[in-house]
């Protein structure tokens, strides 16, 4: 019996080996170019500027989202009004929306030609545009965490506080802040990390060499200039900052997010003194998050829809996106499952390591490998799918872990006593018990991969054409109305796939 155990190929080893290889190969490709490249004088001043800008925009994005998120989260948590649940659902949607759609919303509202922007005399492109976009999708995340934490305050405490006649400020200081404090810092760290590496927003709204982040600079050095030396330097700097940050916040990061669905139904007893303030906050919410999309739909019109839908490029892009996203989602979720199959801590560690490595560094490596060993369309598609699968792994682990742990807690001893192998455990227990969670993870993974711009843009060629690339090109050509429909189509596909997966999971259980 002991012999057979040793001979069995463990899924966790397979997955670990795969992920390690997928990380090590591109990184070593980058490093190999680094040693080969002839050293040209480096634009150090510019590099200094972009490091500064990268950190500045990430800090301001985080600070703004946290402040806005706390104000909005508190208001939504304590005030009930018609459409509250819809607004909350919409804010949630903003967080998972493909980045390019947010770019579109911001452009159509705030740019010099946008609905509001045309009346403003200001420098839109650069920091202001980037902040507006980052706040747009990071604030909802913070607000959600705030609401979640405030739900945990016992109702008796709130009633007591009201009997004592505490002011809003005192309520905040004595009840809300202590409840929020523990959760807010890890989430802020996550937001910082996301903003630091945000690709579609900065590449579309940066506007000039000054307002560029490291992530974008790597892409530009390679794609614009074929400059491996500069690209590698930038990637190494980015990696160093990422590792430094990770050392500071990683421990908190891992348990901070993906806490699963929460129910924000109950609103707390209302304070009349904050009525007008709350009303104002809700109005701001509606104006900032809802108006752009409504404005878009009104402006979009049917002609651009026809243009978008009748373009052969759209269907080509749809096909390639479906291929990439399906392959990435399946591989990514399979890797996440494999990494969790064993009890080994190492596998989990490997899974989370992916989060620290700058995705542009991996894309750069893939670019070099393709450049050396062939760059047919299918090779590019496969490389993009692999890169996206890797990016999905930590998210998928996070989503699957609770279900896996529940099954383990329930049946762990029986499985051990029966002497089931890793494969058999998956076959008989984990797979059926986790089907719903796996469907959910596949759906999210599909959405993430289908919305990816970074890897696709880095590896783009004349015949590579995904929906985000199409969207990016249309936004570049300022065909915003057509872009809107392409974006809507992308979201539609994502939602349909998610529903299909949920349906399959339900059918499986029935």
């Amino acid at each position: 019996m002991a012999q057979r155990r040793q001979l069995t190929l463990q899924p966790s080893w397979l997955a670990t080996a795969w992920v390690v290889a997928a990380l090590v190969l591109p990184i070593s490709a980058v490093l190999s170019m680094f040693w080969q490249a002839s050293a040209e004088p480096m634009p150090w001043r510019w590099i200094g500027n972009i490091i500064q800008f990268t950190l500045l925009q990430a800090s301001l994005s985080t600070l703004g989202s946290v402040l806005l998120g706390i104000v909005i989260g508190r208001t939504l948590a304590r005030r009930s009004f018609i459409g509250r649940n819809w607004l909350i659902a919409w804010l949630d949607a903003c967080f998972v929306m493909p980045g390019l759609l947010i770019v579109l919303a911001i452009l159509l509202t705030w740019s010099p030609t946008g609905a509001v922007g045309q009346f403003l005399d200001w420098k839109f492109y650069g920091l202001p545009a980037i902040l507006l976009a980052h706040w747009f999708f990071e604030t909802p995340l913070i607000a959600r965490v705030v609401m979640q934490q405030m739900q945990r305050i016992p109702e008796a405490h709130i009633k007591q506080a009201q009997q004592l006649g505490l002011t809003d400020w005192q309520m905040w200081r004595l009840l809300d802040w202590p409840a929020i404090r523990a959760a807010i810092f890890p989430v802020a760290g996550l937001v910082f990390l996301i903003c630091m590496t945000s690709f579609p927003v900065v590449v579309s709204l940066g506007g000039g060499p000054g307002s560029t982040t490291l992530e974008i600079a790597i892409y530009q050095a390679l794609h614009y200039e074929f400059d491996f030396y500069l690209a590698t330097w930038l990637a190494v700097i980015q990696l160093a900052i990422g590792v430094l940050l990770a050392l500071l916040i990683l421990r908190h990061l891992l348990d901070s997010w993906g806490a699963g669905p929460i129910n924000v139904q109950r609103s707390r007893p209302e304070l009349t003194s904050t009525r007008y303030f709350d009303g104002l906050v809700i109005l701001v919410c509606l104006a900032y998050w809802l108006a752009p999309i409504l404005g878009l739909l009104v402006k979009a019109g049917w002609q651009p829809l026809l243009d978008a839908m009748s373009s052969a490029k759209l269907w080509q892009a749809t096909g390639q996106t479906l291929m990439i996203a399906t392959a990435s989602a399946m591989l990514g979720v399979m890797l996440a499952i494999g990494l969790q199959a064993g009890r080994g801590r190492f596998a989990m560690f490997v899974g989370y390591t992916v989060m620290l490595v700058p995705s542009m560094m991996l894309a750069t490596g893939a670019f070099i490998i393709l450049w050396r060993y062939g760059d047919a369309l299918w090779q590019r598609l496969a490389a993009i799918a692999l890169l996206n699968a890797l990016m999905i792994v930590p998210f998928a682990i996070k989503l699957l872990r609770p279900a896996k742990n529940a099954a383990q807690a329930r049946y762990g001893r029986q499985m051990t006593m029966l002497g089931l192998s890793q494969w058999q455990r998956w076959r008989w227990i984990y797979w059926p018990k986790m089907a719903t969670a796996i469907a959910g993870a596949l759906g999210l993974a599909f959405m993430l991969a289908a919305g990816d711009l970074g890897a696709a843009l880095m590896l783009s060629s004349h015949d590579l054409n995904t929906l985000p690339l199409r969207l990016y090109r249309l936004i570049g050509a300022r065909q915003l109305e057509q872009a809107l429909w392409v974006g809507a189509w992308l979201v539609f596909i994502g939602v349909m796939i998610q529903r299909l997966l949920a349906w399959l999971a339900r059918r499986y259980h029935a």
Partner: protein, 214 residues
Amino acid sequence: MLSVDNVVIERDNWQCRFNFQLTAGQMLLISGASGAGKSTLLDALAGFTAIRGGEISWQGQSLLGLEPAQRPVSMLFQQNNVFEHLSVAQNLALGISGSRKLRPEQQARVTAIAERLQITDQLNKRCTMLSGGQQQRVALGRALLMQRPLLLLDEPFSALDKTTRLTMQALVKEMHDEFGLTTLVVSHQPEEMQAMVDAELYVDKGEANLRQAP
């Protein structure tokens, strides 16, 4: 012979000590207040809890260092003994092999045990559709199919109503005799079983005293 020599098990802030022997083929009732360490003892025998000192052996061979699956032990817990999402047949089959398909003679063993336990009608049902008593029958059937000489029961029938419980206890006794098992039963209602067992181990605050059957 099951031999438990000076076994010490560390709990949070106290220790359990066990020292007894059980002749092969006998049935042992383990009683005592809750929290006294009854389940801990069974966990240690099955290999789910590490022991601090002492020796556990079966037929002269030490069990220490063996994985739960390698021990001559099958165990039923208070709950979650059957995999509810699988059918009765699948649950039983897992007692023989985790592979997809059973060989014909293995399949015959499944059919035989199902008949013996009167669950043939349920074979293709999912376990979620079964009553608690039936579920424990399936669990017992699977334990028997594992063909391990020691059967450990950690109050698997405590959640059942009294009639069903008595039926199940009688069934266990029948199986014990038919399959020549050595059985250890933890029970909160020792009086219900005292008549059928060969000995009783009374556990109190980590000290165990073996009493021969009255």
